[in-house]
């Protein structure tokens, strides 16, 4: 009975925390650019504002596609978020759910006839083909090195990266994939705000856009917590300390993988991004897989 109450409380609180992290990220970006920046509750305020707006959709919207896309997008961010914070669930399942979130974005974009949304969907699809394979490599190498397929089994007395130095390979892969998966500036080609007006989300507004924005924030927090859990946090940490350590490390990760990256680079073109993800992270993934396979033969 107690566990259900925990799940309900987490299900209500973690989306708010995700929006807060989005606000912190915007504040950090502003400080890097020498601006004052919005209050850290700004993303939450945007969410509240979008709920109060009336919805105006084009007449020929495919509502079935729109709703299924939004549900997939939400589920692909919300369920992984709960899974990683409760340290329960299967890594392979987590991988599939997070790919499902990308599928939701594609379905949402395809519900409209706007050329911007079609261009956005096309680019999002190309990006997904380019980076998801590296994400899968990262998860597979992690499972091979640590030998745990579920999140609760990944228990180590010390920091995983120090106990298994080979985890550095998937960790670097994750750092490459994180900006693309969250969709921030150098590689947010599918949702380019200033270029194709948020791509797949160009025609939706009001509460539908609120769900899309919330899903994006939750995806960011879930990915950061997954990196924290798999590589940085000792499993012996429990209780209040677990939450404090998670949130602090997540904040540091958001700063280094999202804020710094988006301020250091401008948006690249889709062919450049696909070429990059199909060479560097993929090569690291393949070489890493071979190394890990050989090392396992020597009993490491």
């Amino acid at each position: 009975m107690n566990i259900y109450i925990t799940y309900i409380v987490l299900g209500l609180l973690l989306p708010l925390v995700a929006l807060l992290y989005d606000g912190i990220e915007r504040k950090m970006t502003a400080r890097i650019q020498g601006r004052v920046g919005p209050p850290i509750t700004q993303s939450w305020l945007d969410f509240v504002k979008l709920l109060t707006k009336k919805v105006k959709l084009p007449e020929d919207t495919n509502m079935l596609m729109l709703f299924s896309g939004l549900v997939l997008m939400f589920a692909g961010a919300f369920i992984p978020l709960i899974m990683v914070f409760m340290r329960k669930g299967d890594l392979i399942l987590l991988m599939y759910l997070m790919v499902g979130g990308t599928l939701g974005i594609l379905l949402t974009g395809l519900a409209f006839r706007s050329p911007y949304s079609r261009v956005g969907v096309s680019r999002e699809m190309q990006m997904a083909f380019a980076y998801e394979i590296s994400f899968i490599f990262a998860i597979v190498i992690t499972i091979m090195v640590t030998g745990c397929r579920t999140l609760e089994a990944c228990s180590a007395s010390s920091i995983p990266l120090i106990k298994w130095p080979l985890l550095l390979i998937p960790f670097i892969l994750f750092l490459f994939v994180a900006p693309a998966k969250v969709g921030v500036v150098p590689v947010d080609i599918g949702e380019a705000e200033s270029e194709i007006a948020e791509g797949p989300f160009v025609e939706i507004g009001g509460r539908y856009l609120a769900i899309a924005k919330l899903s994006k924030s939750m995806k960011m927090l879930a990915l950061m917590q997954l990196i924290t859990l798999l590589y940085l946090l000792p499993a012996g940490v429990t209780g209040v300390w677990y939450w404090i350590a998670s949130f602090v490390i997540d904040g540091v990760l958001v700063f280094f993988t999202i804020s710094v990256v988006r301020n250091a680079a401008s948006r690249i073109k889709i062919d450049q991004a696909v070429k990059f993800y199909a060479t560097v992270p993929l090569a690291i993934g393949i070489i890493g897989l071979v190394i890990v396979y050989l090392m396992r033969g020597w009993g490491m």
Binding site: R26, A30, Q33, G34, R35, V36, G37, P38, P39, T41, Q42, W44, L45, D46, V48, K49, T52, K53, K54, V55, K56, Y116, E193, S194, E195, I196, A197, E198, V202, E203, I204, G205, G206, L209
Partner: protein, 163 residues
Amino acid sequence: MSLWSLLFDPENSIWVYRINAGSCNGCEIEITPLFTPRYDAERFGIKWVGTPRHADVVLVTGPVTAVAKESVMEVLSQVPDPHVVIAVGSCGVSGGVFRGSYALEGPLDNLYPVDLYVLGCPPKPEGILTALLEAKKILKAKRKGQYQEKPLVVDPAGMVMGR
């Protein structure tokens, strides 16, 4: 700001969309600095969006030319309620030096209800920022259904007239 307004006030989030209805681009050059470190409109929760369907506030620059009229009206019809329309610059307010020309269908308030006018050719960023902050109050009144249609005028230095 109080804790309530930091947490639950929808007026603290304003997304702005801009329409060029035949402007000479002078007003656009003055709008752009709003989002630079010097004026930093994002500290008030003002954000730039690329599509009218996400917008709360629409800035219209330029006298509405005959060619631009159809597109302007279609874009304005896509903005969800509640929204505020701001006419920016002398041309947006009155037609400016082009008033009476055969090529004009505007100024904008002949075609669509305008809530705020920003004077100046071009207006200063201070004036546009003041207009955006005034738009917060208008949006609040519109959400409560208490809005009286009494347009305000913002002069180039950022003074609000007509209250």
